[in-house]
Symmetry: C2
DNA sequence: GTAATCGCGTGATTTAGATCAATACAATTT
DNA sequence: AAATTGTATTGATCTAAATCACGCGATTAC
């Protein structure tokens, strides 16, 4: 159950078996059915979540009722509302299972314990968040400069797997375009070939 | 010269006088004239920069020749091409002085030394990058959901100072709209009052 | 087993913002 | 003092993508 967690951590830092055994005790396992919420807007995000199985999305609903997806999280990824988790303020995001999921949750308090007892985790989480920032900056710049079609083709080049598992209307919402536009783009690309 | 740096660091972590004295030795001071480059696209970003005076921007130029601004950096802020700095790959961004600047530069190597000798800096940089990620996520979501006018009014609400110091066409470029659109929005807002 | 919801495609129309173009007037540079 | 460059405005036109609207299989629910 914790193999993937161990694998992902040791890709970035080295830890001893004892340290990982301690680490394991701090996580709470949780299963989620498709369409269930891990977090709802307005609640405080009490956990940072590691995905061992399945797929989730974090998103907001704007004042017109449109969904905007911040992140997808596949197996081996982390997901949380970082702002809410760190400040313990009401969350701005929803986190919802796209597929049935198996998760490992860690509270802010437990994470602090981990950081104190195994200081190399300070480095681990710094690097995680650095990589996330780099990816988010890239996505932001892409959004400012690319056409709808470029956004889509770049996405499928960077994450070829996602088209198999994520419904089109969610991909559209992640890209910041409508489902109709994405549908038209896809048929254009198909006929061009 | 290092007072602002000291102030900003100790807002987040506690360090001793010796530790800060060691820290100081790792930074190289640099002055930059308005329009000078701190980094040019294609070069490796060798430094993370702390701004003690002045104002800079990081930006890309897309294939149509349009400038897209990732970040402004005022006094007390940090700026770098994080991807290039961490991976030592060619930079995707330019960093350029908007005003005459006084800067403190630290190399990746010196930063590693600092992290090793004063481990609480691990925490400092983690928190910096966490806050940056939260802000970038917020900006991204805003870009997906807001109109041009909303983007502008949110910006001036969050950073009232920026309109005084940043030319309008750069604000437009930061918001992902054209100077003409921003100009029209401003005159609409003005006549509405 | 049939009603309801979900996911996708496609056509007609609208619109926010881009693009193209001309002007004005600082602020620098020479 | 003249020339150049940077910054902002305002008008006319265009266009990429949104919106509105409908049909139609595939799942899911009761």
């Amino acid at each position: 159950m914790h193999e993937l967690l161990y694998k992902k951590i040791t890709e970035i830092i080295s830890i001893s078996e004892e340290e990982f055994n301690f680490c394991k005790t701090l996580f709470v396992p949780k299963k989620l059915r498709k369409r269930q919420f891990l977090l709802q807007e307005g609640d405080v995000c009490k956990y940072t979540t590691f995905v061992t199985k399945g797929l989730l999305k974090s998103y907001t609903i704007d004042n017109k009722g449109t969904e905007h997806i911040l992140q997808f999280a596949f197996e081996g990824w982390w997901i949380a509302d970082l702002y809410s988790f760190l400040t313990e303020q009401a969350s701005l995001f929803n986190i919802e299972a796209i597929e049935n999921c198996e998760l490992l949750l860690i509270t802010k308090f437990s994470r602090e314990q981990l950081l104190n007892k195994v200081p190399s985790f300070e480095r681990y989480f710094r690097i995680l968040v650095e990589n996330n920032l780099i990816a988010t900056q890239k996505r932001l710049m892409g959004n400012l400069s690319e056409t709808a079609e470029e956004k889509y083709t770049n996405l499928i080049n960077n994450f070829p797997g996602c088209i198999q598992r994520i419904p089109q209307h969610m991909i559209a919402s992640y890209l910041g375009i409508t489902r109709e536009t994405l549908s038209r783009i896809r048929s254009q690309i198909a006929t061009r070939k």
